[in-house]
Symmetry: C2
Subunit: 349 residues, 2 copies
DNA sequence: CTGAAAGCGCTTACAG
DNA sequence: CTGAAAGCGCTTACAG
């Protein structure tokens, strides 16, 4: 004897002996209701297990009460695995949404998809959170369009002047600096960088520049011949390290633009009988859960994803309410583990 | 000059010189439209960047076109980290939903929350996917209620006779058998089990029983004194291994009910100067991404999460369409790595 | 093949 | 404090 028909506000009104409008007021928490009336309506609603119909409500108010999280990746990325760093962001975003009473729609997109128009125009979501590594220049025009259409969105990524929309991101430049200083402290002078280092990948680029500037300030120049492009995946890291090795340029440290890259690179190095960290220091970025368990454990840069998720949701909600919002950075901090080695008294050069 | 007002079907109708009803037919793909008319309407819709309002549409059709994924955990679980196994399920569920043109609402719940009524009664979602480890008996009554209310849902978990609703799960029993046989093959005779082994945690229990039966068939009895309760977390695994050690009963293998437990257990064993796998074989369950990287690399049981995600979504969609649906199991397969050791010619007993 | 009209279940001015 | 009424933007029988 299952109830096929869900209760509506009219049913509640009938049973509580009030008008449907009053039921609606009660359920919206309007102050314009007598306390007695309110109690009666609430009791009936609870009894009939009544929930406000979201679509009717949203249609009327023109608010979805929902945020869409768009996770996109380069089409080349491995289909089956999602970058664990984004997964952990997803976790904290979900929690932050719950805290603000917002629902969260999750979707994976290809960078090439026509994702820009869908969610807000169809009223599915009041705003968008954009998350993903990928070629920045390739989708900058899409961001411009979003701004132009008045779509509410925040982006996780590089925080740079003159960017369309609002971004929340890690202080990648400072993170890179920390790595550069640390590697210098370990006696390393020939630091390779694995990861795209161009404005196509502004986050990686900032990490690269940060490291370069730190070393420069210490009197060391990063050799461009020791930089190899790589997107954020283990396979790309492996391939990049192989390329680096084939170039034959000597190096004593690898700064990988992400932990995934670092893991792949360590595999390539080990295969070539190079010891980490004795022969080569390796440092990653992101502090994914696996980083503690690599062999040797990976020195890396930590970003507080919990915090980041909250800031993204906060910024978006503020934007939806037409409040002023600024792009912001969260701090980076270095987590020293075994893979970067122990200080070397005398450097080789 | 941003458009504050989104185009509606009336706008499209006006510009295309047809009735609003016809616009709706075109956008729903009704065959009852002249091809010329259709083209004209589509052109205008595209030009105005028109998307059907989801709420209006859903209100009318009484379908959300959306599925809700409810991820729940024991309240005791660590706030910040989500079980990586479920994260990877989330990934495949998201993809499967996209393939079926369904949106996906994601939410974390505490086992104690009042999650049962919300999503479908409020019409937010046409059905629910339930995902999570936790005390089964504690929420069985909730499942009963869901069934009684006619809520559409599928559950990831143990597949047992007489369960409310439909479940998709791994063949945990067989997975356990594989582990038992493998450990026996490694010469192990005193196998400890870390993880709850009662009907409160049917998945863990099935793994335990599978292992026990396999060993029994080989003439070995699992000692109940070597079983220690643990929920699926690293800390719980660590604590359970400590408890096991304190009991002073000799053991030469640990079957951990999940990889997270195994990782924590290995830490505890190593701290006590026990060598893995020389002194103790360790086997986990789930094959989370980190399993390849533990030291030694973790032997574990793999479940195809890609497949599982598709099956969950498929089953739910079928149920929503009132088609018959059965509970199903996906196969388990053993992944042998270093942590279970190399065969020992002579066993100790 | 097309249009006029009813109605999905709410929210919120408006009037009292 | 409460009710009657309009209307959010669609979908779909119904009539033609």
């Amino acid at each position: 004897m299952r109830k096929k028909t869900k209760a509506t506000s009219v049913d509640i009104a009938y049973r509580a002996g009030v008008s449907q409008a009053t039921v609606s007021r009660v359920l919206r928490g309007s102050p314009l209701v007598n306390i007695e009336t309110r109690k009666r309506v609430e009791a009936v609603a609870r009894e009939l297990n009544y929930k406000v119909d979201r679509h009717a409500s949203s249609l009327r108010t023109q608010r979805a009460g929902c945020i869409a999280l768009l996770l996109f990746e380069d089409p080349t990325a491995d289909e089956s695995h999602i970058n664990p760093f984004f997964l952990s962001m997803l976790g904290s975003i979900t929690r932050a949404c719950a805290k603000h009473g917002q629902d969260l729609l999750v979707s994976f997109q290809q960078l090439s998809d026509d994702w820009h128009a869908d969610y807000e125009n169809s009223m599915k979501a009041d705003g968008l959170i954009l998350l993903g590594y990928g070629d920045y220049l390739a989708y900058q025009s899409t961001l411009d369009r979003l701004v132009e259409q008045g779509t509410h969105f925040v982006r996780w990524g590089a925080v740079l002047p003159g960017q369309p929309g609002v971004s929340i991101g890690c202080d990648n430049f400072h993170g890179g600096q920390l790595v550069g200083e640390h590697l210098y402290g370990m006696g390393r002078r020939k630091v390779a960088f694995l990861g795209d280092a161009s404005s196509h990948y502004p986050e990686f680029f900032a990490r690269y520049r940060g490291c370069g500037v730190a070393l420069h300030d210490l009197g060391v120049v990063m050799d461009p011949a020791l930089q190899v492009d790589a997107e954020s995946s283990e396979d790309a890291g492996y391939a990049a390290a192989r390329t680096l090795l084939e170039r034959g340029q000597p190096f004593d440290a690898v700064f990988a633009a992400s932990d995934l890259i670092a893991i792949g690179a360590m595999r390539a190095l080990t295969e070539q009988r190079l010891r980490v960290p004795e022969d080569v220091s390796v440092v990653g970025f992101d502090d994914i859960p696996t980083a503690r368990f690599t062999n040797p454990a990976l020195t890396t840069v930590y970003q507080n994803t919990q915090r980041a998720g909250e800031m993204l949701v906060d910024a978006l909600l503020r934007q939806i309410r037409d409040e002023p919002v600024e792009s912001q950075m969260i701090p980076a901090s270095l987590i020293v583990r075994k893979s970067s080695g122990t200080p070397i008294a005398d450097s080789e050069d």
